[in-house]
């Protein structure tokens, strides 16, 4: 307070800064953290079993049920496994693609390639998911392409969910990796070659460490988006049930239970962000 009053000009600047930052900060606390707090708070309420109206009596039944019912554990683990699989698949696909775009393609081609990677983001999520539903169907394109090889497509189910989610979130992984690779000075690669390192050695000891934060940054998107998804799984997941579906099925009837369930992905994502932060990836965002 005293410091603010010391110099008139500084005080004015401070005021302007406060006015500038105030609304977004208020938005962040009220709309974002506030609603999250209310959500988690309502996990401790209960519902009228008939009208499904929320009854505000404090209890921990929902949390207890969440922790003791085996089916919720199964669903949480399945969701986590799918999110991890999607992230790994995206990392595996994004690395060579981004490398080609940033290093192999001529500068003239970089921009068109970047646009090509981004174009799928312009199409609606639902359209893409339904397109995959048609392709993966019993007499769809995937099966008719695979049948000459004596193979059969994955059909609807967990593999289809991983595949479609990996497709949907791939641009979010490619972009940061591409940016990191583009920033990588040519000199370091040349130096590595001059010092006698082969392609693999260079890739492992120079390129990978340089893009690791970018990979983590991309994985924040792929991981958290997969963790919260419940539409794709309804479209191509067959009978697979994820956390999002369990929340959605409870939200109309038992809001407090849905709130308790949604604490699970929140906790998972916070843990993941903490782990990623330790790896220094958030600096690259």
């Amino acid at each position: 307070m005293r410091r603010a009053g010391a110099g008139g000009g500084a005080g004015g600047a401070r005021l302007r800064l406060a006015a500038l930052l105030g609304p977004p900060l208020l938005w962040l606390t009220l709309a974002y953290l506030g609603s999250l707090a209310v959500l988690l708070l309502s996990a401790f309420w209960t519902t009228d079993s008939f009208t499904s109206d929320v009854v505000r009596t404090w209890n921990t039944d929902n949390i207890q049920e969440l922790l003791t019912t085996p089916v919720y554990r199964t669903i949480a683990l399945r969701t986590l496994a799918i999110a991890v699989a999607v992230t790994l698949l995206d990392a595996l696909l994004a690395l060579p693609m981004a490398f080609c775009m940033a290093r192999v393609a001529s500068p003239r081609w970089r921009r068109p390639l970047l646009v090509a990677v981004l174009t799928p983001l312009w199409a609606s999520y639902l359209v893409k998911a339904y397109a995959w539903r048609v392709m993966l169907s019993e007499d769809g394109v995937v099966n008719s392409l695979l049948s000459p090889l004596g193979l059969h497509g994955p059909g609807y189910g967990t593999p289809a969910v991983v595949l479609v989610l990996a497709y949907l979130w791939l641009p979010y992984m490619i972009l940061p990796v591409y940016a990191a690779l583009e920033r990588l000075p040519e000199r370091t690669l040349e130096a590595s070659a001059d010092l006698g390192a082969g392609t693999w050695r260079t890739l492992r000891s120079v390129v990978l460490p340089a893009v690791r934060p970018a990979l983590f940054a991309g994985s924040v998107f792929t991981f958290s988006l997969s963790l919260g998804d419940y539409i794709t799984v309804q479209i191509v997941g067959g009978k697979t049930q994820l956390l999002g579906n369990a929340i959605a099925s409870q939200v109309t009837l038992d809001l407090p239970m849905a709130a308790a369930l949604s604490a699970v992905p929140v906790v998972l994502i916070v843990c993941y962000l903490a782990a990623v932060r330790r790896a220094g990836a958030l600096d690259a965002l």
């Binding site: 307070m1 606390t29 009220l30 506030g34 707090a37 209310v38 708070l41 309502s42 519902t47 079993s49 008939f50 009208t51 499904s52 109206d53 929320v54 505000r56 019912t69 089916v71 199964t74 669903i75 539903r133 048609v134 169907s137 019993e138 007499d139 769809g140 059909g155 609807y156 309804q234 479209i235 997941g237 067959g238 009978k239 049930q241 579906n245 369990a246 099925s249 409870q250 939200v251 109309t252 009837l253 038992d254």
Partner: protein, 392 residues
């Protein structure tokens, strides 16, 4: 510095307190004491409808099926339709207060009445109400204390649909999707809602009489467990569950599903897409629905809503909907207006004996609906959790 930290904490605490009070106050202003209007005014130019697929057709699915545009032309009320896939979806949509009227089934009506989201209906303002079949008036699922909470729309059964080229011989029992489901492993489908537990209970009424199930919506703990066990067994053979009717159509068309529960309208649409399917009423009877058009207690366009109520049960339109959806109309004069003169006979419109075999969707509650006094039944919240468990 220290001062700034404390003031930051203080404002954070104030924000939290504000949120708590805001959250705490929200619940008390529910319109529990909703009133039916005494007379109608001019139309508001708009009406927002929640409907089952096929109930508010504007010709976009089938150019022949259009009773929305004539309504708009006649009344000047522009119709905005939201199609819902399950009763739960309808209940939650009605809770938003953004809709004027809903075609609620018996497993939603009582919940909407109890929560005060639906208002009583002044049947005098719906001239066509007088021609509704008496068996549909003043029923436990659409009235309370002798007051109607809506206008009956029609009723029908949930059917068993199968691909005629893949399922042989033709099934005549729900056994095909329960005990014999393994014959079509990975190609069986079921309705994705807790209310589907009643279908298993209905099957168990015949298959396991020792359980003593009298009403598929009145299950004690032991009976619910038996139904859940059966559904878990069925789960192994399920390819996917459906609640979106479009999804079921594509699944049957593509051969991803070959047998499972359906509505007549879905069977019709799938046949229209040239898929070889057939829908039958199995010998055990079936679960079904009896739908009621209800008016929201918070309706912004009540006059247009009442106009819609009267329109949808008027003989001609009620006949059109009933034929399109494949159900028994509620208006007895509709039977003379159907393009197939036998429609009412085929769908047993006034055959009360037939509808005794159809168990209409009802919300399961703690008091056993079959009249048992010595035990408590499982309520819908328990069914919901059981359904999550079935899907695993």
């Amino acid at each position: 510095m220290r001062k700034r930290t404390t003031s930051a904490w203080r404002s954070a605490a104030a924000v939290c307190a504000l949120l708590l009070t805001a959250a705490g106050c929200g619940s008390d202003d529910d319109g529990k004491a909703a009133h039916a209007p005494g007379k109608l005014g001019k139309g508001e130019g708009k009406v927002n409808i929640i409907a089952w697929a096929g109930y508010a057709e504007d010709g976009s699915n089938d150019p022949q099926a259009d009773w929305v545009h004539p309504f708009e032309k006649k009344t000047g009320c522009k119709v905005d339709t939201k199609t819902a896939g399950t009763s739960d979806e309808m209940v939650s949509l009605m809770k938003t207060g953004q809709y004027d009227t809903v075609s609620a089934s018996g497993d939603a009506t009582l919940r909407l009445i109890a929560s005060g989201d639906a208002a009583p209906v002044n049947t005098k303002l719906v001239p066509n109400y007088k021609d509704i079949f008496p068996a549909l008036k003043q029923q436990p699922f659409n009235s309370k204390d002798g007051r109607m909470y809506g206008i009956p729309h029609g009723r029908g059964a949930n059917l068993l649909m199968y691909r005629t080229d893949k399922v042989k011989p033709a099934p005549d029992s729900w056994r095909a999707v329960f005990d014999d489901a393994a014959a079509h492993n990975g190609r069986v489908t079921a309705y994705d809602s807790p209310i589907y537990i009643a279908d298993a209970a209905l099957y168990l009424m015949r298959a396991k009489p020792s359980l003593g199930i009298k009403n598929p919506y009145a299950l004690d703990k032991k009976q619910l467990d038996a139904a859940v066990t059966l559904l878990k067994k069925q789960h192994k053979a399920i390819g996917e569950y459906w609640s979106d009717y479009q999804k079921e159509i594509t699944a049957f068309k593509g051969g991803d599903s070959v047998i499972g529960t359906t509505w007549q309208v879905i069977a019709n649409l799938t046949q229209a897409e040239k898929a070889p399917v057939k829908a039958v009423l199995p010998k055990e009877g079936a679960t079904g629905w009896s739908d009621t058009w209800m008016v929201s207690a918070k309706a912004e366009h009540p006059n247009c809503a009442y106009k819609w109520l009267d329109w949808i049960v008027s003989p001609k339109v009620n006949a059109q909907v009933a034929e399109y959806f494949g159900e028994a109309p509620a208006n007895r004069k509709a039977c003379a207006e159907t393009s197939d003169p036998n429609h009412c006979a085929v769908f047993h419109a006034d055959d009360e004996k037939y509808f005794q075999r159809v168990h209409f969707w009802t919300t399961p509650i703690k008091q056993c609906l079959d009249g048992r006094k010595n035990t408590t039944c499982t309520d819908y919240a328990q069914w919901t959790r059981a359904w999550t468990e079935v899907k695993g």
